[in-house]
């Protein structure tokens, strides 16, 4: 790949391109691929480092220190702070996610166009579907094979089946996966088709250049037009990249609005409307070894309650994170670690209705977000179903990890009562935030949206946003494929071509 490492840059560095893309995750890589294919001279600026396959760490701490933003410990502000989990490396979050691939659900698109009808013309469903199909072919997206699923995924299928809930092997972007269970630390064999091994090398073959370890501090604007970016390299160089045709922001629904606001581009509801999928997990102890760290990291999902905004997934954490989620502390924790091979974690992702805000905070971004009572009822239902599925799959007992409720539950009837008895206070739960949306939303009304339906900024010419900031709402499913699909669509709008 054509990569300039920020650590090697000193003093002042300037260069000119047709298009500057901020962010090298799924959105940035997809835009860069599409635009470089049209002959445009493209620069991709990534805050995180380029980490080669041979350098990918195995243990959870080293992976999070090297590949995740703020060690995965940037917290939302509010009554019950939650960690925001994002990748920060060349390839963005695609390097460290579970490779779960969903198209944009039709009912979500229906919601968007029912609220803002001009979106149906700007984002025709047929075009999105056509693009998604192409993406699925390019990234080898297909269902997880049973041979690599491992016990955690097969037991989730068994538990869901016992409860009569619809479930299926997860469709993932992998090729030749051997079920190493290391998706969240970056696949050491390159079998996950993350952006660093797919779109970015291809974009570079077409002439794109990646600047890694370079943090964009400001989008430059002159007379109402975006003209480039100013950045700081990890080596201390002041980097200025000029863009003659477009600046495309693809830095995530947290970093993109923070960058706009820090640049003084404050049009409309920039940074408002933050949405996400808070996740809650359940630990269960099985009588037989289940070795949660083996098999496909996330290979099975339960979709029977998706209509209610709850989706369940098997979780394949590193040993350290699996252990930290065990109950107890001191000698009890040590005993449980001795039988770590008997413990599994499954999670529920919630399509939360709550909306928050993103603001710049020095060189970082601050997210204020608080779950609504209706969201907490979904969390409570999710915990109940997780526990029931685990017990139905053969767990000796489950450890809900909810303050003020039973520490251990071995009886499905007791677990079923959680939906009535469980607390609605978010501080009683341990949750994390993934999948963020909506902070620079698309729309036809410039007072209620930041971007025009064709992804152009309402107020600044030649400025585009291609990441999930642009989504009018959360989607209730893992968004990577939808992000790539919309980013490719954004790139075509930049080129002025309808796909």
């Amino acid at each position: 790949m054509n990569v300039i490492e920020g650590a090697d840059l000193r003093g002042s560095y300037q260069a000119s391109f047709d298009v500057v893309v901020v962010g090298s995750g799924p959105a940035g890589a997809a835009v860069a691929l599409e635009l470089s294919g049209s002959g445009a001279r493209v620069a991709i600026v990534e805050e995180g480092p380029l980490v080669r396959r041979s350098e990918l760490p195995e243990d959870g701490f080293s992976a999070m220190a090297r590949l995740y933003r703020d060690l995965g410990a940037n917290l939302t502000r509010g009554r019950a702070p939650m960690p925001i989990v994002q990748g920060r490396a060349v390839g963005g979050t695609s390097l460290v996610n579970g490779a779960i691939s969903w198209r944009l659900p039709r009912e979500v698109w229906d919601e968007w166009v029912s609220e803002d009808p001009p979106l149906s013309q700007a984002l025709p469903w047929e075009e999105l579907e056509r693009t998604a199909k192409t993406v699925e072919q390019e990234l080898c997206i297909g269902p997880t094979e049973e041979a690599v699923a491992g016990p955690k995924n097969l037991l989730l299928a068994k538990g869901a089946q016992a409860l009569g809930l619809e479930h299926r092997p997860i469709r993932r972007n992998v090729r030749g996966c051997r079920g190493l269970g290391r998706c969240l630390q970056g696949c050491p064999e390159g079998n996950k088709t993350s952006m660093d091994v797919t779109y970015l090398p291809l974009a570079c073959e077409r002439g794109a250049r990646i600047y890694s370890s370079v943090r964009v501090r400001r989008v430059c604007e002159e007379r109402g037009s975006a003209t480039g970016i100013e950045a700081l390299s990890s080596g201390g160089a002041r980097v200025q990249l000029a863009a003659s045709q477009a600046v495309v922001l693809a830095a995530s629904a947290v970093q993109t609005p923070a960058l706009l606001l820090a640049s003084g581009i404050r049009h409309g509801p920039t940074g408002e409307g933050f949405q996400c999928h808070p996740g809650v997990s359940m630990a269960g102890r099985f009588p037989q070894p289940v070795r949660a760290w083996e098999g496909a990291t996330q290979g099975h999902e339960v979709i029977g309650l998706r209509g209610e905004g709850i989706k369940f997934e098997a979780l394949g954490y590193d040993l350290a994170i699996l252990a930290a989620r065990l109950k107890g502390v001191g000698r009890e924790l040590s005993r449980e670690i001795s039988s770590l091979d008997r413990w599994l974690n499954w999670g529920a992702a919630i399509r939360a209705a709550a909306r928050g805000t993103v603001r710049p905070a020095g060189a970082k971004a601050s997210v204020r977000f608080a779950l609504l009572p209706e969201d907490m009822r979904k969390v409570r239902r999710g915990v109940r179903v997780l526990g029931e599925m685990m017990l139905a799959a053969g767990a000796e007992y489950v450890a809900p990890g909810v303050f003020g409720w039973h520490e251990r539950v071995a009886d499905r009837a007791v677990m079923a009562r959680f939906e009535e008895e469980g607390p609605l206070d978010p501080r009683a739960y341990s949750m994390a935030v993934t999948h963020m949306f909506g902070t620079c939303r698309l729309g036809s009304d410039p007072n209620r949206s930041v971007l025009r339906p064709d992804f152009r900024h309402h107020a600044v010419d030649r400025l585009f946003v291609a990441d999930s900031s642009a989504f009018p709402s959360n989607t209730g499913v893992n968004p990577q494929t939808a992000i790539i699909t919309l980013a490719r669509t954004c790139a075509r709008r930049i080129l002025g071509v309808r796909g």
Binding site: A73, P289, L319
Partner: protein
């Protein structure tokens, strides 16, 4: 701001109390040199986490002085364990979160050791 020698002792004692040996199974954090881990931890952690972890060390070290008249690192093992268990189930959200932070850091430090990773991952209980 760098940690004082006393803070480093309290920190190590706290984490070793959070993850002590399980006889004949694993040695806990007792045999692990924690300095290299903490150099990397402090370099990678955001300011809020660094501050929260330091506050955690102070609070969980000195809170036992109110009930046991001694700080955590001077308590016998049974009392240390009992204090941490009660703190982990406290009505105080902040105190529960501090125990969670200490657990997470202890587990990160433990499973960063290849030998310990191998021992736990290979073992069939």
């Amino acid at each position: 701001m760098s940690w004082t020698a006393a803070e480093r002792r309290w920190r190590d004692a706290l984490l070793r109390a959070v993850l002590p040996p399980d006889p004949e199974r694993h040695p806990g954090l007792g045999e692990v040199d924690l300095e290299p881990f903490f150099a990397d931890f402090l370099a990678a952690a955001p300011p809020l986490l660094r501050a929260a972890f330091r506050a955690t060390v102070w609070v969980l070290t000195w809170l036992p002085a109110f009930t046991f008249k001694r700080p955590l690192h001077r308590l016998p093992e049974g009392d240390r364990d009992g204090f941490l268990r009660r703190a982990g189930g406290s009505r105080s959200y902040l105190l529960r979160q501090m125990v969670s932070v200490a657990k997470a850091v202890a587990c990160f430090a433990f499973f960063r050791q290849p030998e310990l990773r191998g021992r736990v991952a290979r073992r069939a209980s």
